[in-house]
């Protein structure tokens, strides 16, 4: 009798846990048709971890660089580990995690996040729980993820012991049951791939109309904590024999102040790093702000991204010495598939955009 009761209890527990897991899978945001950038981080694990170049950073990497162009024109295999409003401590832990999977020749880090201080002191717009989730939920569990969560939690998340909500996302998204859409059921247990090696394609065009103007700052000095994470990135790359390249993507907003640029130039010199501010190379890249942006200069569209990648690819191969791997038959076949998917989506989005106009 006792044995039977234990068996029934165990069975009920197992069934209950499975049902709760299914419920959790249903309730978590899918990021498949809306806010697609939320799906980017998780897609990395579906890849064969064998890239020459890995980009790390915020929307200025996943919207502005096309790995397909880098492959097509220079035979460089690359992946973008980008996410919306990715903060520098998150970038550091993503970099740390990347080294657990692969050791690329070059890691490219977009320095815009140097402007954001620690979670405690950042303004409301820079540190939001929703952005944290987009970067952190997609990561696989490891010490890097735990540390990234600990470094990233907002005040409210700390007060509400959000680590449990990262561990069991059902606790975070428990009230989404009233907002479920067909997308949630369609992607309940499977996901589509939304990016092309981390690149999120946009084909729309919304020209730059007026110059982006921002109020001058009182203090342009980057926070010590940001430098600390940058130092840790430098150390990490050195330890793995990977070249760290600092870039500032040519996005026009948020404004990248000269004072910030000077600090990065000085830091790169001091640490013997390559730093490229693409805002200074717009003409050479050939960016036309009438046709190459989909949101008035904040991000490039696919046409701008291809131009920028073409320009950067030359630097990666000539200055950083990244090899051309197009002679590798296996890789060529793999990237041919990726290119076909990229071209197909581009054509599809262009057709949809034209119809929309």
């Amino acid at each position: 009798m006792k044995k039977k009761s234990i068996a029934i209890f165990a069975a009920a527990l197992a069934i209950g846990l499975v049902l709760l897991w299914l419920l959790q899978m249903l309730l978590v945001p899918k990021y498949m048709t809306d806010v697609r950038e939320g799906a980017l981080i998780a897609e990395y694990y579906e890849e064969e971890p064998n890239h020459d170049v890995v980009f790390i950073g915020d929307c200025e990497v996943y919207e502005n660089f096309s790995p397909i162009t880098l492959w097509e024109e220079y035979g460089i295999t690359s992946y973008i580990r980008g996410s919306a409003q990715q903060l520098i401590w998150q970038s550091y832990y993503l970099m740390e995690e990347t080294f657990k999977y692969e050791t690329p020749d070059v890691i490219v880090f977009n320095v815009l996040s140097m402007k954001y201080d620690t979670p405690k002191s950042t303004g409301s717009s820079s540190q939001r729980e929703a952005y944290n989730r987009m970067t952190l939920d997609g990561m696989r569990w490891s010490d890097s993820k735990v540390n990234s969560i600990l470094a990233s939690m907002t005040q409210e998340e700390r007060e509400k012991e959000a680590m449990w909500m990262y561990l069991f996302p059902l606790l975070r998204y428990h009230d989404r049951w009233s907002e479920l859409t067909a997308e949630d059921f369609r992607y309940w247990l499977k996901r589509d791939t939304v990016s092309h090696n981390g690149y999120l394609m946009q084909v729309g065009v919304k020209p730059l109309e007026d110059e982006h103007v921002e109020r001058p700052l009182v203090d342009y000095e980057f926070a010590p904590s940001c430098y600390e994470y940058l130092d840790r990135m430098v150390e990490l790359c050195k330890a793995h024999g990977t070249q760290l390249v600092l870039i500032k993507a040519p996005s026009l907003s948020p404004v990248w102040w000269d004072e910030w640029d000077q600090q990065m130039v000085a830091y790169a010199e001091e640490n013997d790093l390559l730093y490229i501010n693409f805002l200074n190379h717009q003409e050479e890249i050939g960016i036309d702000w009438n046709t190459d942006t989909y949101d008035t200069g904040l991000h490039l569209n696919v046409y701008g991204a291809e131009k920028l990648s073409s320009y950067f690819g030359r630097i990666l191969s000539e200055e950083c010495g990244v090899a051309d791997r197009r002679s590798d038959a296996g890789l060529s076949a793999l990237w041919a598939e990726k290119t076909a998917a990229y071209d197909a989506q581009k054509a599809e989005l262009e057709a949809a955009y034209a119809a929309q106009k």
Binding site: S5, I8, F9, A12, G16, L19, L20, L23, E129, E156, E157, E159, K160, E161, A162, W164, M165, L170, L171, R172, H174, D175, W177, S178
Partner: protein, 521 residues
């Protein structure tokens, strides 16, 4: 550590596991360690208060017990040579000495409690601390009103020789600080709690399961209903909400406080039950009461019992009361004999009000309760005549009417909690008969107080479920009946309740963390 925090659930889970792994004789020391950990997690600055209460309780009860033992030894030795009067005088002498110790202990502890509560009032806070923040002015030490009353109840019981004296200081420390009831009671009697608190317990699947079920039910009331409706109460306290809106507020508050308080008590009793420890019930479906006396026998029972034992009875049987009774009976033969009871009632309700807080609204709340109790008592013969004349007691609908009447009356009195300024409360109360704004029920006003249609649906569904469960519970213990059902049905119902709490509970990011209301007392 809030009962609704994830860390508490982890703490409880780890404790339960260790509790049943270790030998039974180590269970109560483990509970003491867990209670200390629980208390310290709320802040070390208040440790001194509970330590002082424990020490003074221990010292006083041991002192009194030693004297009682000496008395027994002396009397046994001199049994033959002492006359009856001498024995009586000797006993009275010991009792009187013990009384001094008891009163000293009560004064010390209630003095601390009064000081702590008074320090919540701004002018006193400033006077005590000179305007600077000190450990006395940060807030009320966790659970002080509860552990203090429990300890002092024990001191009184030892004085009365109705409780055995605990000579192990660590066991006594556990009695004072047992963590599940630290937050909001119940205020247990020593004789009630300690037999199961100190006893070793073997793992009992049924007891653990029943305890966890009760905890889950408590979370349902707290997170799904009480915390969801809390936002509307904050809005409805606004000046613009008068008349019918005030009535709506009183009903919403009735739902919130009942869900909040009984939810917390369910978590407390459930957790203790899972460890084999029996705590007294604190509520017996009070909203089904037909009169105020019955209501107070069903609501916050442990506080009522304490007040009755330690304030009401001692006053009503005291020498001055006997004299008053004699004098008043001579003047008003009918009413006079009840005067001492009414005087004791006033004192009891005054203390009950003060227990909730050193502010005018709580005293008014206590006095309003007392007023209704006294008036009801006086009008009892009139009611009885009225009921007999129309045979009302035989009619079912009249029972329902009495319940509804009592519910609304208690709601109106209870709303006093919400307005520290008593004038505000009476203005709102008066507006019920001056402002007939029934339109707020359908003109969209109630959709602008922080609740969406979905919130209303969840609250309504939650209350309905709760009401049905209370009705079923009136007929007998639900969990026992559920236990007799097939396992599939039993587990399915528990799982559904768990899912409802998980999905519809007001917790996590975007929700205001709502503390248990009785934490503040």
């Amino acid at each position: 550590m809030q009962f609704t925090s994830f860390s508490f659930l982890l703490f409880a889970a780890v404790l339960l596991t260790v509790y049943y792994i270790i030998p039974g004789k180590w269970q109560w020391p483990l509970l003491l360690i867990a209670s200390c950990f629980f208390y310290i997690s709320a802040g070390t600055e208040y440790l001194v208060f509970i330590a002082l209460t424990t020490l003074s309780t221990y010292a006083t009860t041991i002192l009194m017990d030693n004297r009682l033992k000496q008395r027994d030894v002396y009397m046994a030795a001199h049994k033959a040579e002492m006359s009856r009067e001498e024995k009586k005088a000797y006993k009275a002498k010991i009792k009187s000495g013990n009384k001094v110790w008891m009163v000293a202990c009560l004064v010390l502890n209630f003095g601390i409690l009064a000081l702590c509560k008074a320090c919540l009032i701004d002018p006193v806070r400033t006077a005590v601390s000179g305007g600077t923040l000190s450990f006395l002015t940060v807030g009320l030490p966790l659970g002080i009103s509860f552990y203090m009353f429990q300890s002092m109840g024990y001191v009184v019981d030892v004085y009365r020789e109705t409780a055995k004296t605990e000579r192990n200081p660590f066991k006594l420390a556990l009695f004072v600080s047992f963590f599940p009831q630290l937050i909001q009671g119940p205020i247990s009697k020593f004789n009630q709690l300690t037999p199961t608190l100190y006893a070793p317990h073997k793992f009992d699947g049924k007891a653990v399961s029943f305890g966890l079920q009760r905890m889950l039910w408590g979370y349902f009331k707290k997170l799904v209903v009480a915390d969801r409706i809390a936002v509307a109460i904050g809005s409805l306290k606004g000046e613009e909400y008068t008349g019918i809106a005030f009535l709506v507020l009183t009903v919403f508050y009735a739902i919130q406080i009942y869900g909040d308080f009984t939810g917390g008590i369910d978590v407390t009793i459930g957790l203790a039950e899972a460890m084999g420890i029996k705590l007294p019930e604190n509520f017996i479906r009070p909203y089904f009461s037909k009169n105020i006396a019955e209501y107070w026998r069903r609501w916050h029972i442990s506080l009522g019992v304490w007040m009755k034992d330690c304030i009401f009875y001692p006053i009503s049987v005291s020498e001055p009361m006997r004299k008053l009774s004699k004098a008043s009976r001579a003047k008003f033969p009918n009413f006079g004999k009840r005067v001492p009871v009414y005087v004791a009632s006033v004192a009891t309700w005054f203390c009950t009000g003060i227990w909730h807080g050193f502010s005018a609204n709580f005293i008014v709340w206590g006095m309003l309760n007392c007023f209704v109790i006294v008036v009801s008592e006086e009008l009892m013969p009139v009611y009885a005549k009225f009921h007999d004349r129309f045979h009302l007691k035989e009619k079912k609908w009249y029972g329902g009417f009495e319940i509804l009447r009592m519910f609304m009356l208690m709601n109106l009195i209870r709303a006093c909690d919400l307005f520290p300024n008593v004038g505000d409360y009476f203005r709102r109360l008066g507006s019920i008969v001056t402002t007939f704004n029934f339109h707020i029920l359908w003109d969209g006003t109630l959709m602008n107080i922080g609740l969406t249609a979905l919130d209303y649906a969840i609250i309504f569904g939650g209350c309905l479920t709760w009401f049905v469960m209370d009705l079923l519970q009136e007929k007998g213990p639900i969990r026992e009946r559920l236990y007799a059902k097939p396992a599939a049905l039993r587990y399915s119902l528990i799982f559904i309740l768990l899912v409802v709490v998980l999905l519809m509970g007001s917790y996590g990011i975007g929700y205001d963390a709502s503390n248990f209301i009785y934490n503040q007392f």
